[in-house]
Symmetry: C2
Subunit: 292 residues, 2 copies
């Protein structure tokens, strides 16, 4: 299924699957210069790979982590069926020039008796935090752990998970973590659908309906550019697009001040339209900056 | 009041009072070899200084932090009146050969908008955790922050705060922090009172009554050695000693398996007697290992 073929593991991409191996290898990486970290849950797409590209431009060494983190999934969410394709992921990462992949086992990451977590604050409360209780607690905890296990100079995240990037930046600031957080642009398919590992869940009909997300976001941008600055009006228009043309079940449509999760009533400064919907059984999120 | 005199600041003890200064100095320290960290809230006594000694034996460089951490005090606790004596502390630390003191301001540690904390688990629930809600959340948060601000190889804590050492070890384990935790023995006055900055609150009568803590702990040890292994019987005897000879208000007397906070019913393996009392307005804790 992967467009890349690959031969036996070579020196160019090192696969590390335990914390002991990681420790053994880290000082050698460290000696080469700046290390860039790209935390992922695997099932890699072009969005992830552009994080890799950004890391390779900024750092001497690029390390990608692949770990489907159970603590960020709620009960009834898609932890069990989340797509997993380590061989395909490794082929893509090798082709993109990654130096090391850290793909630990579950018990190596959360060892028996694990009980300490990151308590996230108000930045994690609305939107994704309200729809997915405990999600950001799990995200912040695994990111903190990865930053300690694989201490890098910079870490790269995608802006598609807009609120996640804010939660992580807040944690880095509040816990004084010595790592730079780089946020990279959303990568879209040719027809505008934001790339996501969860797009694989969509059947042909749902895939078409999912285009309503990008249409809704573009509509908000166009209306805003045409002078419609009232957030309630913009949100209503986006919601109509999602519900009517996409037959989507809307979880939220929110417009927040750029760089925050604070809702705006008037778009008189740069703002971000954030949406979460269900198309069939698949939950999708997207966002877009307007008013800048 | 301090037995040490000291002249102007010399190269031998560097006082750093901001995170920027700390960052500037850290790589030079790092180049000298292993760094030992001794986190304190100041008002230093011989217990703290023996942590310094342990660090100096184990590490090339010893850094002491002095910061009265507000997030570990509950409402109505003694944050405001907690003893502060930076000049006296510096004199003691210089005499003991400390290389650097990090004594940051409150706003430099908890910057505006701080909202992320460490969520501690079951190890933090009983005893001190039950009597002081939020205490260990604050302790774990500041210790995590200090470990990031001042990344050392080992950190030194006193066993007088027995449960605190377990909470910190649990956090280090669960968050994969790259630091070794060293726990040093309780240091007692000649008459047995465990050294504590809070002993300064005691008046002469209270100081005498406070001896009931060590008498109670010794009683438990003697009874245990004489074959009394029933935890309920031992706890009752300790409580009687505290209440009757010490006129202390007992918050808890607990006997837990050594290295845990799990209560035992029978002392058939090494256990720790943990006590917390109030003598007048002063809250004191102490503990002692028995059955080993």
């Amino acid at each position: 299924m992967t467009p890349f073929s690959y031969g036996p593991m070579t020196e160019s991409l090192r696969l590390v699957q335990s914390r002991e191996d990681l420790n053994t290898n880290w000082s050698e990486l460290r000696a080469r210069g700046a290390i860039g970290l790209v935390p992922t849950m695997g099932a890699l797409h072009e969005g992830h790979l552009q994080l890799v590209d950004a890391s390779r431009r900024a750092c001497e060494t690029t390390v990608v982590t692949i770990f489907v983190n159970p603590t960020q999934f709620g009960p009834g969410e898609d932890l069990q069926r989340y797509p997993r394709d380590l061989d395909g992921d490794l082929a893509k990462l090798r082709a993109r020039g990654v130096d090391m992949v850290f793909a630990p086992s579950l018990v190596d990451v959360y060892r028996p008796g694990h009980e300490t977590f990151v308590e996230v604050g108000p930045v994690a409360a609305p939107m994704e935090g309200a729809c997915r209780p405990g999600h950001f607690r799990g995200v912040a905890t695994i990111v903190l752990k990865l930053f300690q296990l694989a201490p890098a100079d910079k870490a790269f995240f995608g802006r598609k998970d807009y609120q996640q990037t804010l939660v992580i930046k807040q944690m880095v600031h509040d816990f004084d973590l010595r790592i730079g957080i780089e946020v990279c642009p959303i990568v879209r398919e040719d027809d505008g659908l934001a790339m996501s590992s969860r797009n694989a869940y969509l059947d042909r009909d749902e895939r078409q309906r999912a285009l309503s997300l990008w249409r809704g976001l573009q509509l908000a941008e166009q209306m805003c550019a045409a002078g419609h600055r009232d957030a309630a009006e913009l949100k209503a228009a986006v919601r109509r697009e999602l519900e009517e043309s996409g037959r989507a079940e809307v979880e939220y449509v929110e417009i927040v001040r750029d760089g925050t999760v604070s809702p705006v009533t008037l778009v008189d400064e740069p703002a971000v339209v954030c949406i979460a919907v269900r198309i069939g059984a698949t939950r999708l999120i997207d966002n877009h900056k307007i008013g800048s």
